[in-house]
Amino acid sequence: MVSMSETRSRWFTAEQRRALIQEYGIFLAFLILAVILSVSNEFFLTPGNISNVLLQTSINGVLAVGMTFVILTGGIDLSVGSVVALAGIVSASFATTSSTAAVYGAPYPVVIPLAIGVLVGVACGALSGLIVSYFAVPAFVTTLGMLSAARGLTLIYGGGRPVPALTPEFRWIGTGHVFGIPAPVIILAVIFGLAWWTLTRTRFGRYIYAVGGNAHAAKTSGIDVVRIRFAVYVISAGLAGIAGMLLSARTGSALPQAGIAYELDAIAAVVIGGTSLSGGVGRITGTLIGALIIGVMNNGLDLMGIQSYYQQVLKGALIVGAVMLDQKRSYGA
């Protein structure tokens, strides 16, 4: 690790350069990508397109923030895509004017469906969290189970059909603007800000790193490891609940097949952002950049008219490349 005073005082040694690239490589990669795209496409840097990229990143961004909490403890949450669908459809059924899909009395005032969406997520997360932390079932297995169960519940709840005709108030969270900024982008910014503050400025945040770094040591130093582990799954699924509502508000209809494979993009954002899958190491700012890289890449390749199949190949290369950097950081220096 290179301290700031050292870097300012003289030219970098080769070793320091390498350390810098490892530490800030992700920001660098993002800048390079942005420059390439601005040069190769005249529309990339227009305000309208920047707003588009942020909008298209917002849902994955919200999921990736939650995923960062889980991965920092050394866990994983595979269920977020299904929780997106479940929370999306349950909340929508309280916010629809369609007589066939509505819960009795719907549409309710917008706070009710919004609260219900978060609650559905939190409930899923509480169950996963309880099983992972208290019953010590591996997170991979637990959340894989939740992935299947939440998808099934989504299909049962909606009878496999979408919930259409959502109220304008509910749709605002997905389609509204504040001072020209899309509402989902603002929601992501607020969530990101809170997450950054929690992870860097609170005791709870430090405990998350401690549990991920060495759970045994954390326990002996008096940290309630079970509670911390429980909490991160509640956060992740709660945020998935919010993401689910953003998605249905954006598409205008809650779809039972929504969110399939969203967990993979969320994990990709976290990993590209430099958070170690073994836990304890990583930064929430990296996750945000990781999510932006995925969003910018998809957007840029769409603008250039390149088939989405190439986007998948590039994303794959990015994920593996980022982890290679991560490995070098752990074992190299």
């Binding site: 227009t46 298209q56 496999g160 979408p162 598409t251 205008g252 097949q257 603008l303 008219g305 989405s308």
Partner: protein
Amino acid sequence: MKKLALALVAATALLAVPATAQTAKLKIGAAPYGLNAEFMQIWSAALQQHPAVKNGDVELTVFDGRYDALVQNDQFKSMVTQKFDAIIFVPIDIDAGATGVQTAHDAGIPVIGSNTRVNSDLLSAYVGSDDTVSGYMEAKIVLDKIGCKGNVVIIEGPIGQSAQIQRLEGNKKALAECPDVKVLEDQTANWSRAEAQKLMENWLTAHPGQIQGVIGQNDEMALGAIEAIKAAGNDVKSFAIAGIDGITDGLRAAKAGEMTSILQDATAQAQGAMDLAIFYAKKGDYKPESDIWAKYGKDMPWNDGKDKEYNVPWTPVTAENVDALLATRQ
């Protein structure tokens, strides 16, 4: 000796009674590729509503193929073991489905195809709709609306699926009739509304003010494009947009004048296949009971069950028929 003969006659008579009772109630299995999306749900519900199922002549079992060719093949094996009288098959994959058909054929069970195709000449009959026709119809509607000149985009289904291939073929046929129309973009959104929405948002940025028409190969994707157009602050009605399938949200958007949908009649595909399944299970001693034959009349004649292929006509959703169609979705 006489007593023994009598006993034998009595015994065969006793055995014969339950045997005829069993043949009276037909066991028919339906194997749709998956039940997660609206179209196949309407299809399955239509099977349950078939007169022969409702009056108890047919005992129907629906197997969810879970979008997996292997799962479907296993379901064929279990239907053979359980001695089903006929099978209605909607394969997920055009080639992989042939194995299942072979299995049933070897066991002497007739298989009726419905909705999606399978590369097998062992099907007793097939009831579906020709996707090249719908692809042509929807593109024609878009092109007519923009006056056969200007720019369009095509949002495709998953590349390689039979519906995507055939609908694209139809799209291209219509486009060939309008040489002044330029296809600005042409990409897959995998039948998904959310994916199409993203794609359209980016295309509107890349070609500001230049896109006049959107050819969505299904309703979901056309609906995604509509949301993107709205979000970008454009007037949806200044675009010519079309989709295929006639899903409920598509009907609603058609009613609002935002798009045109081409209805694929899941009910006719399902009930037509059921009539043929019963026809083959009873070795030709059967008259069709579903009212779909009367509905389409000479556009899809029963022909005493002799045809190998039954083409269910497509119906463009218009202001005149949209309310009646929506009423069937309650």
